[in-house]
């Protein structure tokens, strides 16, 4: 499972990296005469409602998806890990403040909160990243806090304190590393989540703005032509499904790998 997922993700990443340089068509270039044309040898995925090459747009959209996934996941994983570790290790008021913030954010459906945030801040790629990070760190913080509460009682953590190590050193060297496997699994699953969320926001017109191609906006563009030109939605839809599936496979595979009960 891990390898299937990893292969999908690798192929997609390579496509995003190299694809736009290789395709002969500009994703923004319109050939209005050929609008809605189906797949052909020149245009493998066909053309959209404005006569733009869909393959070129899917490849360009992959870049957006990876950009969003990587940024959101790395920032929220780091922030969530640090905040969760601090809450779990020091307890007291710090823990109360951080844990209540987590509770409040978890009480909202994440995507709804992101929609509200972007609606207030205005639709743009930057605001999408911001909104998804605001809801993203919570999961990591909760996981890491739980792990740190456990690790705090480990004898080697006590031993490090008895050695005279300060709180930050103990946290960094002995406590946080115990949470890394959990965070890595969560990050792989988080990539899938961030990609779907970005697509959803863009689909609603709250994300990446035209003419920049994003899989979500492409789905939205194809909506009116679902019956007469299904290839407009089929290819970006497939791309989203495949990449999300890939990341989920990677996440599940890593989880199995990190689970000592499975060989």
């Amino acid at each position: 499972m891990l390898w299937v997922g990893a292969s999908i993700v690798t192929v997609a990443a390579l496509a995003a990296l190299v694809g736009p340089l290789v395709t002969p068509f500009d994703p923004a270039n319109q050939q209005l005469a050929l609008r809605l044309d189906g797949p052909s040898w020149t245009h493998l995925f066909g053309l959209d409602e404005l006569g733009r090459d869909i393959l070129a747009r899917v490849l360009a959209g992959a870049r957006i998806s990876f950009l969003v996934g990587i940024t959101v996941v790395s920032v929220s994983a780091v922030a969530g890990t640090l905040l969760g570790a601090v809450a779990g290790y020091f307890g007291g008021v710090l823990d109360d403040v951080i844990s209540r913030a987590v509770d409040v954010l978890l009480a909202f459906p994440g995507l709804l909160l992101a929609i509200a945030l972007v609606a207030v801040l205005g639709p743009s790629l930057g605001n999408v990243l911001f909104a998804l990070t605001i809801i993203g760190w919570v999961g990591y913080a909760r996981l890491v806090r739980g792990q740190v509460l456990r690790a705090r009682e480990f004898e080697y953590v006590q031993a490090a304190r008895a050695l005279g190590a300060g709180a930050l050193r103990v946290l960094w060297r002995h406590v946080i590393p115990t949470a890394v496997p959990t965070v890595v699994v969560q990050a792989a699953l988080g990539m899938a989540g961030a990609i779907i969320s970005e697509a959803a926001l863009s689909f609603l017109g709250l994300g990446v703005q035209p003419p920049t191609p994003s899989w979500g906006t492409m789905l939205n563009g194809g909506r009116a032509h679902l019956l007469d030109a299904p290839h407009l939605t089929l290819f970006p839809g497939l791309a989203i499904a495949l990449l999300v599936l890939g990341f989920n496979f990677v996440g599940d595979g890593l989880r199995d790998l990190a689970d000592p009960k499975r060989g």
Binding site: F154, Y156, Q158, A159, R161, A162, L163, G164, A165, G166
Partner: protein, 345 residues
């Protein structure tokens, strides 16, 4: 060297605060080994953690004084106590399996002790680590330093813990059940090593154990702890030859190869759990010699010999006299049951 007086550490349990360490006083003199004996749950480990100010919530130090080389440890700033932990007072933990971090090499972990206190630069640390491993008799030290804890046997790991403890040349080492997790042959080696390190580095040792055999072999003086209190203390010979507290006597009788060579005798009953310590003398529900005052007021410390003291009314002539005048009622079923209900309360 170390002077503990009136140390009280309470745990804030749901049922209210409970003293795991209650008005404990003792001293460890320069160069000596003090054995702190007691069953599990008697407060030995909490005493050790309290001295180093490592008690974690819901536990807290509620009172008393801990003087170490003339400094009061309980009022030091966090920064100052950290400078003492590991550098001046080192703690050896019970479980060599779990007291080492599985993801770092043992060399790394010994070096950490040096680096934390700035006793070596990263480069110097490597050679010091090898010296320390050699000092605790680990063969092929340079290669072993690159091993992870799981690659070593229990005895080797315990040696590593000792190496970590002596890394900064502390003057006091607190060893919390250093031999409990090891099998018997290795226990003896470990005690030899501790004695050797003590001589070589001029250490004082606070040896915490439930094993009177270990005490007999290693300690100069003994303090016996029960339910958070020190019930008897004195020189090892006096404690073993002439124990004054019924609990100490019970412990000695339950030791294999003990003086009377008969069947092993267990102490009746079980150790009370924290939060439900009986009133009066906490040992009274299990005590074969209990009489009236035992279940109400805890006895104070009474001198019973040269540097030997016990907390038991049997050593108080006035109490014993009044008991004699009332007639022997201590073993009557009513008193027994009554004291037990008292205990449950």
């Amino acid at each position: 060297m170390l002077e503990v007086s009136g140390l009280t550490t309470v745990f804030d349990l749901a049922s209210g605060p409970a003293a795991a360490v209650d008005d404990v006083s003792f001293e460890v003199r320069a160069g000596e080994t003090l054995g702190l004996v007691g069953e599990s749950g008697s407060g030995k480990s909490v005493t050790a953690l309290s001295i180093m100010r490592l008690v974690q919530p819901p536990g807290r130090i509620a009172g008393g004084r801990v003087r170490f080389k003339g400094r009061e440890l309980l009022t030091l700033s966090e920064r100052d106590i950290r400078a003492i932990r590991g550098a001046e007072i080192a703690l050896i933990f019970q479980e060599p399996m779990t007291a080492l971090n599985p993801v770092f090499t043992i060399g790394d972990q010994i070096a950490e002790a040096l680096l934390v206190h700035g006793k070596a630069t990263r480069r110097e640390a490597a050679s010091k680590v090898v010296e320390l491993l050699e000092a605790v008799r680990i063969p092929d030290a340079a290669a072993r330093a690159r091993d992870y804890p799981h690659q070593l046997s229990g005895g080797m790991r315990q040696r590593v813990l000792i190496a970590m403890a002596i890394a900064c040349k502390p003057s006091l080492v607190i060893a919390d059940e250093p031999t409990t997790a090891l099998d018997v042959t290795i226990q003896a080696e470990m005690l030899d090593l501790l004695r050797e390190m003590k001589a070589a580095f001029n250490l004082s040792l606070l040896l915490i154990t439930h094993d009177l055999g270990v005490i007999a072999e290693t300690a100069d003086r003994v303090a016996v702890m029960y339910a958070g209190r020190i019930v008897e203390h004195g020189p090892v010979r006096a404690i073993f030859r002439d124990p004054q507290h019924p609990y100490t006597r019970g412990l000695l009788r339950s030791m294999p190869g003990a003086a009377d060579r008969g069947r092993l005798r267990a102490i009746d009953g079980t150790v009370p759990v924290l939060g439900a310590f009986p009133p009066g003398c906490a040992f009274h529900p299990r005590c074969p010699d209990r009489f009236e005052p035992c279940s109400t007021t805890p006895p104070s410390e009474l001198r019973v010999g040269d540097a030997h003291a016990a907390r038991c009314y049997l050593n108080d002539p006035s109490q014993v006299a009044s008991r004699a005048s009332r007639g022997s009622d201590h073993a009557s079923p009513t008193t027994g049951r009554q004291s037990r209900t008292d205990g449950a309360r």
